[in-house]
């Protein structure tokens, strides 16, 4: 008697997993690629020196001007804000660029029309920079009046607040402004399967 082997079955495990999770994977792969590429770009010295440093200096000027309005009598020099009692140097990580790039990557990776993506990028730029301006001013005041709290406030509190703000903005944008492009055939979230709202 000859042993018969079962007919070869197509290996569908990978394919079905991809189909099942393709939206998450597509979004995540695109998000990480955009984030990694944009950070690599701004870390490149010519870009850092010609774009990021002047941008950070502009943030320092805006922060210093706001502090002067609050009676702090500061002077600005490049990326440094200084008063008689305290000084801060605004560096990468404190200029809001990282939070903006995370937000931009999330907006660009999310399935939406290009019009709504551009709207999201524009609104996000303004909103995140406003939040970052509040952060710079608040940190300077923390350094003047509560110096023991400066370290924790600088990293833990304000970085959490700025990133949280970016995510909340993204949720708002996705919920209110992100027009969805036509779904691909067989897409579980296509017109037939999409929940009615």
């Amino acid at each position: 008697m000859r042993a018969s082997s079962p007919p070869p079955q197509p290996n569908t495990t990978t394919g079905s997993a991809w189909r099942r999770y393709r939206r998450e994977l597509g979004f995540l792969i695109l998000f990480v690629l955009i984030l990694g590429t944009s950070f690599t770009l701004i870390s490149w010295n010519p870009v850092n020196d010609r774009v990021i440093e002047p941008f950070t200096a502009a943030i320092a000027r805006a922060g210093g001007a706001t502090l002067n309005l609050l009676g702090q009598q500061t002077t600005m020099s490049g990326t440094i804000i200084r008063s008689e009692r305290f000084a801060v140097n605004i560096r990468n990580g404190c200029n809001g660029v990282e939070a903006m790039l995370i937000y931009f990557a999330a907006v660009l990776a999310f399935p939406a029309t290009w019009k709504s993506r551009f709207l999201g990028v524009g609104l996000g730029f303004v909103a995140i920079q406003l939040i970052n301006l509040i952060r710079v001013v608040a940190l300077f005041l923390t350094g003047v009046y509560l110096p023991k709290l400066f370290d924790s406030s600088h990293t833990v509190i304000w970085q959490t607040v700025v990133i949280l703000s970016g995510v909340l903005l993204w949720i708002l944008w996705a919920n209110r402004f992100a027009g969805t492009p036509p779904a691909a055939p067989g897409d579980p979230l296509g017109p037939k399967n999409a929940p009615s709202t």
Partner: protein, 197 residues
């Protein structure tokens, strides 16, 4: 109980409840993180030390936690004061746990068991990520922060590799990790529930 949907009664849109829950869970997440930080710092220093020493022949690196939030990097092959090489805030490496916990607990209408499983996986991935950042931090210190010693033991390629790796992990990916993990586990829920325009 498996299958039970946790959270408050469904009022308002899904995205609105997500935002409200996120803000509500933030303070409890901060409280838990603050309480766990002294123990987690010790665990992280130990794990980071083991990982670093695994690639050393002979194994010379020791990491000590000091004043709860700082870690001292020392090398036993350097004598006297030279044995102490660097100090930085280890707490700053893992404050993204606050947002991870808040994001995962905030998603509305998720079965309790699924929520706990997803949060468990997210925390596990976060721990691995924190150990990896600490490892990159130590290698960054060795390759770029010790002047002549760094130049003697690390070439330009290695210095750039460790420096850029630390920069990439410590800024964009540390800050984006809670969002990346959340999107990995809940992107479909989010997309199915945000309002379509």
């Amino acid at each position: 109980m498996a299958g039970q949907v946790s959270g408050s009664p469904a009022t308002g849109s899904w995205a609105g409840r997500l935002v409200r829950n996120l803000l509500l869970w933030l303070l409890p997440a901060v409280a838990v993180w603050v309480l766990c930080t002294p123990f987690y710092n010790r665990f992280l220093a130990l794990a980071g030390e083991r990982l670093t020493r695994a690639g050393e022949f002979p194994a010379v690196t020791r990491l000590y936690v000091q004043d709860t939030h700082q870690v001292l990097v020392t090398r036993s092959d350097l004598t006297g004061k030279d044995g102490f090489v660097y100090r930085f805030r280890i707490t700053d490496l893992h404050f993204n746990l606050i947002l991870t916990v808040a994001f995962f607990l905030a998603v509305p209408a998720v079965e309790r068991r699924r929520r706990a499983e997803n949060l468990g996986w997210a925390l596990l991935i976060s721990v691995v990520f924190h150990i990896l950042i600490l490892f990159f931090f130590v290698k960054f210190v060795y390759s770029t922060q010790l002047g002549a010693w760094s130049n003697e033991h690390y070439g330009p390629v290695a210095q750039n590799l460790w420096g850029f790796g630390k920069h990439l992990l410590d800024l964009p990916f540390k800050l984006a990790l809670p969002f990346i993990l959340w999107a990995g586990f809940y992107f479909q829920d989010f997309q199915q529930n945000v309002r379509r325009t």
